[in-house]
Subunit: 278 residues, 2 copies
């Protein structure tokens, strides 16, 4: 998907919501456990119920990998279902990969080509040649970790560094500043945790045009209004993720309806924020 | 596996060799393509041929993930085969994972419990709470990325930082210094690339007792002698990985014999180095 197409979808749906398919077999409604592939069935019904209110789906790889080969099959079926039925959603493999060049090429092939995700989250620690192989696919995206939403973000990401760039203090800013030259705002996004919304102002001084994937709204405690206020740019430039708050909103047979309601609530908030800040 | 058991295996085999099972279906001998599971068959024969000369096997996850669910099955079969037949080898899931706490827990379960690897490589960028969940399994190990063997290691890992520790300059040193308090030398190792063997001296001033996983000998150009000279400690403290140089030493029906020869060559070098430096 191109940046322009993503922006068109945001305007059309009046939403910058990303629904996180962190599908945990121990948390899905029990009646689904009789299905041949409970995880796929859950994902399918969540996607069918929420597609009008979101522009992206993020798949948390860990949840599929704990299920082994079977989990991988559920993932393959889910992404195929989305790609075949809903061309107006952006798909994210939340995999946080990154390795030496030829290994990164293999991960890129696995997620961007074989599974045909629009994007993959990548960890920056190993530097340029670990990220570049993910940038070689047309209309596909790298979403690079910059400032994450967890407590451990303070261990290294906000370490003060002696950087090449003036007025720059933190490792995560150096990660953004250096890596933005590896690609463009047409193929790179950044993960910026919502729990640090005020830092979005600093981020926007380095990258005004890039999309940001913002986790941490909802269960992790970030404010949607602050994210929009400090982070939105002229093409919205935001994908805000909510996982558990939506997909586990209900635990009964009406789980998909409950998920729809939660997604719609967020979409309505986003609509207002788009009217104010876009 | 405990540290003591690993050291006993090193002394017994007079080897600190780790064989990297970077099994690429496009590079394995063509006659194996008729097998039901060519990747497993290749791995099995490589393991059978090299087991006397190495103390560890490292599995590169990317190579399995490019094959989808089928690749995951080949991986499951390989690790099961090793665990059932060769209890004196240390197994490494080279996965470079790391995510928010509950997601890291899922990855830990996938690799250390379900697949029953002895260890997993983890990326440090997301900090303490992204690493801790991997340390909750008895006699299992985290192998944390510190200084990798690729060119991109210079982008961030060797960035000068304003650290809490005196006499400390680089991010990778801060990663080691901070993270060593998260576990012990009984459950944490570090990745230190062999292409920077002289830096092993600096590493050993921070962590004298930890094992180091050293990639980059062979195809990537590092010197085994220098690694031993600068990195060995009183329990050896080194696992040196070689992947392509061993597993693709032959391309014909005798590929396993060729792999054995290459593994044995390295083992003989290591035996001499153990006599000098241990």
């Amino acid at each position: 998907m191109t940046k322009q197409e993503l922006f068109e979808n945001i305007k059309h749906k009046q939403s910058f919501l990303c629904v996180g398919l962190d599908t945990d077999i121990s948390k899905i409604p029990v009646h689904l456990l009789n299905e041949e592939d409970p995880i796929f069935e859950f994902n399918k019904q969540i996607v069918d119920a929420t597609k009008e209110y979101c522009v992206a789906y993020k798949h948390n790889m860990a949840l599929y990998e704990t299920q082994g080969a079977k989990g991988w099959t559920s993932l393959e079926k889910t992404i195929k279902y989305i790609n075949e039925n809903y061309k107006d959603v952006f798909t994210i493999a939340d995999a946080k990969r990154g390795d030496i060049g030829n290994t990164s090429s293999m991960y890129a092939k696995a997620f961007l080509e074989n599974l045909n995700f629009d994007s993959i989250t990548v960890a920056p620690y190993m530097g340029e040649d670990s990220v570049m192989p993910f940038l070689e696919f047309k209309n596909k995206w790298v979403i690079l970790l910059a400032l994450t939403s967890n407590k451990g973000a303070h261990d290294f990401q906000t370490t003060m560094i002696n950087a090449e760039m003036e007025d720059q203090n933190y490792l995560y800013q150096e990660v953004i500043d250096k890596s933005r030259k590896w690609g463009t705002s047409e193929n790179m996004m950044y993960v910026i945790g919502a729990t640090r919304a005020e830092m979005l102002t600093d981020v926007r001084t380095i990258i005004s045009d890039h999309f940001l994937l913002v986790p941490g709204v909802g269960a992790q405690g970030g404010s949607l209004e602050e994210v929009a206020k400090f982070g939105m740019n002229k093409e919205c430039g935001l994908l805000v993720n909510s996982s558990r708050g939506i997909i586990y909103a209900g635990v009964g047979e009406d789980f998909a309806d409950k998920a729809r309601e939660e997604a719609q609530k967020l979409q309505l908030e986003m609509k207002q924020l788009l009217e104010i800040y876009l």
